[in-house]
Every structure is written in structure tokens, then in C-alpha cells.
């Protein structure tokens, strides 16, 4: 068996250095998540009209991004992985938007 490993592959955007995130950094992330959980719970008890869902979902998305970037190491991953994650959310977005567009426009009547 040969040890030939394609050099062009090593420098290409599909690869990334292996990075180890330190426990300290994890702790910061952990703290951030806890703080934002507190904020989102708190915000739910304040009547902000239509802003309530927006804030709640905004915070949830923010927390999700933090988890993805740090706990799941995407920040230190290759472009390929980043695009993969993006593709997943993009397709989900297509599902929601295109289907919702049908439901919303049904209310507009015939034409």
C-alpha cells in the first residue's frame, strides 16, 4: 500500500487543520448559553406584542449557532463542512418558505 496522499487535497478547501478547543472556551460558551436561556425565559414573561416570538426565535437561533460553531467545532472546520451545514438549513428554509407561500397565498382568493 502506498502512502501517497494527494498534496493538492491537503491544501484544498475541503480540509482543515485539526483544532482542539480548550475547556476554558467551552466554559465561556456554556456561560453564554445559560445567560441567553435566562434572557429568553425572562423575555417570555414580558408582554412585547409581536416581538415576543421574534425575540424567542432569535435567541434560539443565536444559541444554536453558538453550539454549532463551538461545541460542534464548525468554526474550525473546513469550508466543506460549513457549506454542508449551510445546505441543510437552506433546504429546510426552502421547504418552509415554498410551502408557506402556498398557504399564505391561498387566502388571497382566486386571483
Amino acid at each position: 500500500m502506498s502512502e501517497v496522499h494527494d498534496e493538492s487535497n491537503v491544501t484544498d478547501p475541503e480540509h482543515a487543520d485539526h483544532h482542539i478547543v480548550s475547556p476554558l472556551q467551552y466554559s465561556y460558551v456554556f456561560g453564554t448559553l445559560l445567560v441567553f436561556t435566562a434572557i429568553t425565559v425572562g423575555a417570555a414573561y414580558v408582554d412585547l406584542k409581536w416581538l415576543n416570538p421574534v425575540i424567542a426565535l432569535g435567541i434560539a437561533s443565536f444559541k444554536a449557532v453558538v453550539v454549532i460553531l463551538f461545541f460542534m467545532h464548525v468554526k474550525y472546520q473546513s469550508r466543506l463542512i460549513k457549506m454542508t451545514v449551510g445546505a441543510g438549513f437552506f433546504t429546510f428554509f426552502v421547504l418552509i418558505m415554498m410551502t408557506m407561500s402556498d398557504y399564505i397565498s391561498r387566502a388571497w382568493g382566486n386571483w
Binding site: 487535497n9 445546505a87 415554498m98 407561500s101 398557504y103
Partner: protein, 557 residues
């Protein structure tokens, strides 16, 4: 098999030729060595046998459908039984035959070799996906044996959830499991293509077969889970009456269709794209030329995969989606048809200034081009809103999708099986018989499905057990055609089986093709290559092939 100028066939001297002593087929012995294999080539063979088995079951149902439709009266079987026929026919043909057909057999066998890899990235998951496939198949057979299902392959709610008491859940389980088999195949392909390419194998040196399977894999990974959740919801609705699809409880039955077609439209491209890859390889080899506009063909695969996600509601134009979104989806449907046109013309122009020979795979490929053009363009009929009102749910659709799926994909599959048969088994198939089979299928196919276009425009609804008198003549033609078609499909079964033992020894590269798979012994070794190949030329580089010295043949077993 003559060596006249009309062929490129280049077989070793049959008097002295032998199959390689060591190859993946005889590397290990015994049934268990197959059932626990991690070798992508063996798994491909397992798949080949299983999907052929299911194809013939599905085909038997097709035969029964056509037999019943010979006469206008509902005389052969009861309505329920007829409904079970086309449901089982659809489910088996789609989920157990056409979706895995090219990817799981040819793709499995060839993609690692074409990339210069020893195996797929996850051999165990590959094996797992075959087991899942078999489990799905078993559940389908169970549903069949227990009494069948009659939902139609589309499982329309609320019919499937509240109004039928057949084995819907068993069939749903089958599809759920088979779906995961397809997800894992796709996942494996994507990882392999990204991670396992040999040195020098850049993206634009990959054979187009790999590109199109890559595109199909994306669809499998992103689309299939939505089908899975839709199926789970149907099962829950049936068992505990949750109401999300039940209008009397405030649910929307169309929601199911949205979820179902979100998968099932991309699924039709899962079904056609790998076939298109086969056509690229075959056309190139038998015209001794690089595919015209390689990049255009490669990107059009990706474009089909991408746009394929935006058009699903064209299956629901008259079902109660809003008129506005019908407009949008119709427009997008027109856009998704363009990349297919690009491919067809690129293939046609590949022939230009080539040096053409017409072996069986090429005949099938020609069949594909003609029939897929008809099938695809009649898809444009259906995508055109006003026309769809008249044509939807009639035999026009039946004809449309059989043209693309049977005339297109099945032809491509057969082209591929013939083309790579020498590689997979080390032996040639009998050429003149196979040409006969190709011509028979072509004639039989047109006789079966062309009349259905006329029937459709006349208004004959699909899934009809009996029909008005005046449609009979065309239906008789169709049934007659199906008989011819059936013969056309049985022939390869017979002679390919025969060739396993008696076929001429093929040698490494009977077609003198350029792909990496043709540079190794046939049948290949278990790990394909003795030395990892280094790709230093473009795909389809016949110059390179002509100047290739013997040493460059990377492995001879």
C-alpha cells in the same frame, strides 16, 4: 463479436485467455462471505440480484394490470385487487427497483474504482444499507402476502389514513426503511466522492457518471427524510388519529402532499440522474471521444439536483394549492427542464466527428435519448398549467412517467449493465442476442406506452379498473406491447445468466475505454488497485489511452 471494423471490441485470445486467478468474486467463499462482506463490489452484486428480483415482481404486477385492462369490463379481478396491483406495482418499481437501480448496483460497484479508491468510505454502512433495503423489501412482501395495500404509491391522505383497511402501515414501514437504505447509499457516495479521490483526481477529472451520482446523492440525503416524516405522520394518523391530515379535525390533507412531493419530485431526479451518468459513459466510449461540453454536462446534473427541490407542487396543480403558487411552481418547472435539454444535445454532439460503433449499450443509449426526449417534453405538457388541468390524473401521466422511468432510466440501467457486465463478471454477454433484446424492448416499449398518450388526451383516467368501450383498441395495443416488452426484459435475464459460465473472456478493457475501472483486471481484485493510481489526465482522454504503456496498467491480478 467479430473483429471487423464495425466494432471496437478487443477481446484477448480466447484460446489462452483465463479469468484472473484472484478476484473479488473468488476472494472468499461461502454464503456468509457474501452476507458479511464489506466489499463494495460484492454489495453491488447483492443489490443487483435483489433489485432484479423485485423488478420481476413489479413487472408481474404490470403484466396483471395490462391483462385486466385488455377488456373494458372489470372481469379479471375485483376492483380491490386491481387497486392492489397498481399500488404494489408502483411501490415496488419506485422504491425497490428504480431508486436503487443504478446507484446501488453500478454506482456501488464503480464509483470507488472510478475515483481510484479501495472502497466506499463506509463499507459497513454500505452493507447496512443493503440490509435495510432487504428489510424494506421484506416488509413489502409481507404487506403483499398479508393481503396487499391499495393506497396507490402516493398514499394520498385522507384516503390512506381513514378510509382503507389494508396493510398501509406495513407498506409504510417498508418505505420508511427502504428510504433509510437510500439515505445511507447517498451519504456514502457523497463522502467517498469528497474524501476518497486518488491523487490527481480533481473534480473536473471525474467521470460524468460520478458527477451525476453525486447530484443524485444530494437529493437522497436531503429529500428522503421528509418522506420519512410524512410516512411516520401517516402511520400515526392511522393508529391514533392525530388529525394533522384530517380535515374534520382541522388538519390539512394537502400538507401530506406537500411533504410527500417535497421528496417525491426530487426522487424522480434520483431516478433519472444516475442513468444520465451511464449514458455519458456509454456515448463517450462508443464514439471514442470526450463528452461534448464536459463541464456543461457536469453542472447540469448539479443544476437539476438544485432546481429539483423547487418544483414539487406541480404534482398538486389542481389539488387545491393557491393559484399564485401554482404559477410559481409552473415557472420553476420550466426552468428545471432546461438542464435535461442541455444534456441531450451535448450527448448528441458527442457523436459529431466521433468514430461510432453500435454495440448493445450504445443501442440502449440511443433508445434512452429518443424516449427520454419524448418523456421529458411531455413532462413540459404537464408543467404547463392549463394543459395539466386536462391531462392530470389520466393515462397521459402514466405514459409520461413510463417514458422517463422505463424508456429513460430502465434503458440506461440496461445500457449500464451490458456495458460493465464484462468488468463485473469478466465475461462478455452474447452480442447479437442482446441487440435483439434491445430492439425488442424499444419496439415493445413504444407499442405499450405511445397509445397511452392518446388515451390520456381522450381522458381515460389512471388507476381505473374498467373503462368505457371506446378506449379498448388503444388498450389492447398497449397490452400487446407490454407482452413484447416483457419478453424484451426476460431475454437479458437468460443470456446474462448464460454468459456467466459460457461468455467469452473479456479481458481488462474490451471496449478500450478510458475510465480507471477499465485499466484494472476484470473482475477486479478485492481492493481494486494494487497501487493507488495517480490520475494525470482528463476524463475520457483517448489520446492517453492510445499512448498508455503496458506498465501503466496499474494492476494485473
Amino acid at each position: 463479436m467479430s473483429t471487423s471494423t464495425t466494432t471496437i471490441l478487443n477481446l484477448p485470445d480466447q484460446a489462452t485467455a483465463t479469468l484472473p486467478k484472484r478476484n473479488y468474486l473468488n476472494a472468499e467463499h461461502g454464503l456468509l462471505s457474501w452476507l458479511f462482506t464489506g466489499d463494495h463490489k460484492r454489495i453491488a452484486m447483492l443489490y443487483l440480484f435483489s433489485i432484479t428480483f423485485f423488478f420481476f415482481i413489479g413487472g408481474a404486477f404490470a403484466g396483471l394490470i395490462r391483462l385486466e385492462l385488455l377488456t373494458p369490463q372489470p372481469d379479471l379481478v375485483a376492483s380491490d385487487t386491481y387497486n392492489k396491483f397498481f399500488t404494489m406495482h408502483g411501490i415496488i418499481m419506485i422504491f425497490l427497483f428504480l431508486v436503487p437501480s443504478v446507484p446501488a448496483t453500478l454506482g456501488n460497484f464503480l464509483i470507488p474504482i472510478m475515483l481510484g479508491a479501495k472502497d466506499l468510505a463506509f463499507p459497513k454502512i454500505n452493507l447496512l444499507s443493503w440490509y435495510l433495503y432487504m428489510a424494506g423489501g421484506t416488509f413489502t412482501l409481507a404487506a403483499l402476502v398479508l393481503g396487499g395495500v391499495d393506497t396507490g404509491w402516493t398514499f394520498t391522505t385522507p384516503l390512506s389514513t381513514h378510509y382503507l383497511n389494508t396493510h398501509v402501515i406495513t407498506a409504510a414501514t417498508a418505505i420508511f426503511i427502504a428510504g433509510f437504505s437510500s439515505i445511507f447509499t447517498g451519504l456514502n457516495f457523497i463522502v467517498t466522492i469528497h474524501r476518497m479521490r486518488a491523487p490527481g483526481m480533481t473534480w473536473f477529472r471525474m467521470p460524468l457518471f460520478v458527477w451525476s451520482n453525486y447530484a443524485a446523492s444530494i437529493l437522497m440525503v436531503l429529500g428522503t427524510p421528509v418522506l420519512a416524516i410524512a410516512i411516520v405522520l401517516v402511520a400515526l394518523e392511522r393508529t391514533i388519529g392525530i388529525g394533522v391530515f384530517d380535515p374534520t379535525k382541522g388538519g390539512d390533507p394537502l400538507l401530506f402532499q406537500h411533504l410527500f412531493w417535497f421528496y417525491s419530485h426530487p426522487a424522480v431526479y434520483i431516478m433519472i440522474l444516475p442513468g444520465m451518468g451511464v449514458i455519458s459513459e456509454v456515448i463517450s466510449t462508443f464514439s471514442r471521444k470526450r463528452v461534448f461540453g464536459y463541464t456543461a454536462v457536469a453542472f447540469s446534473s448539479v443544476a437539476i439536483a438544485l432546481f429539483g427541490f423547487f418544483v414539487w407542487a406541480h404534482h398538486m396543480f389542481i389539488m387545491g394549492v393557491s393559484n399564485y403558487s401554482a404559477l410559481v411552481f409552473s415557472l420553476l418547472t420550466m426552468l428545471v427542464a432546461v438542464p435535461s435539454a442541455i444534456k441531450i444535445f451535448n450527448w448528441a454532439f458527442t457523436l459529431q466527428k466521433g468514430s461510432l460503433t453500435f454495440e448493445t449499450p450504445m443501442l440502449y443509449a440511443f433508445g434512452f435519448m429518443g424516449l427520454f426526449t419524448i418523456g421529458g417534453l411531455t413532462g413540459v405538457f404537464l408543467g404547463s398549467l392549463g394543459m395539466d388541468i386536462h391531462l392530470t390524473e389520466t393515462y397521459f401521466i402514466v405514459a409520461h412517467f413510463h417514458f422517463v422511468m422505463v424508456g429513460g432510466m430502465l434503458m440506461a440501467f440496461l445500457a449500464g449493465v451490458h456495458f460493465w457486465w464484462p468488468k463485473m463478471t469478466g465475461r462478455m454477454y452474447p452480442e447479437s442476442l442482446s441487440k435483439l433484446a434491445a430492439v425488442t424492448t424499444f419496439i415493445g416499449f413504444n407499442l405499450t406506452f405511445l397509445p397511452q398518450f392518446i388515451l390520456g388526451y381522450l381522458g381515460m383516467p389512471r388507476r381505473y379498473h374498467s373503462y368505457p368501450q371506446e378506449f379498448q383498441v388503444l388498450n389492447v395495443l398497449s397490452t400487446a406491447g407490454a407482452t413484447v416488452l416483457g419478453v424484451g426484459y426476460l431475454l437479458p435475464m437468460i443470456y446474462l445468466g448464460w454468459s456467466l459460465k459460457y461468455g467469452a473472456i473479456a479481458g481488462n478493457n474490451p471496449w478500450q475505454a478510458t475510465g480507471l475501472e477499465w485499466q484494472i483486471q476484470s473482475p477486479p481484485l478485492t481492493e481494486n488497485f494494487l497501487v493507488t493510481p495517480i490520475m494525470d489526465h482528463e476524463a475520457y482522454d483517448y489520446e492517453w489511452l492510445a499512448h498508455k504503456t503496458e506498465q501503466e496498467v496499474t494492476t494485473v491480478g
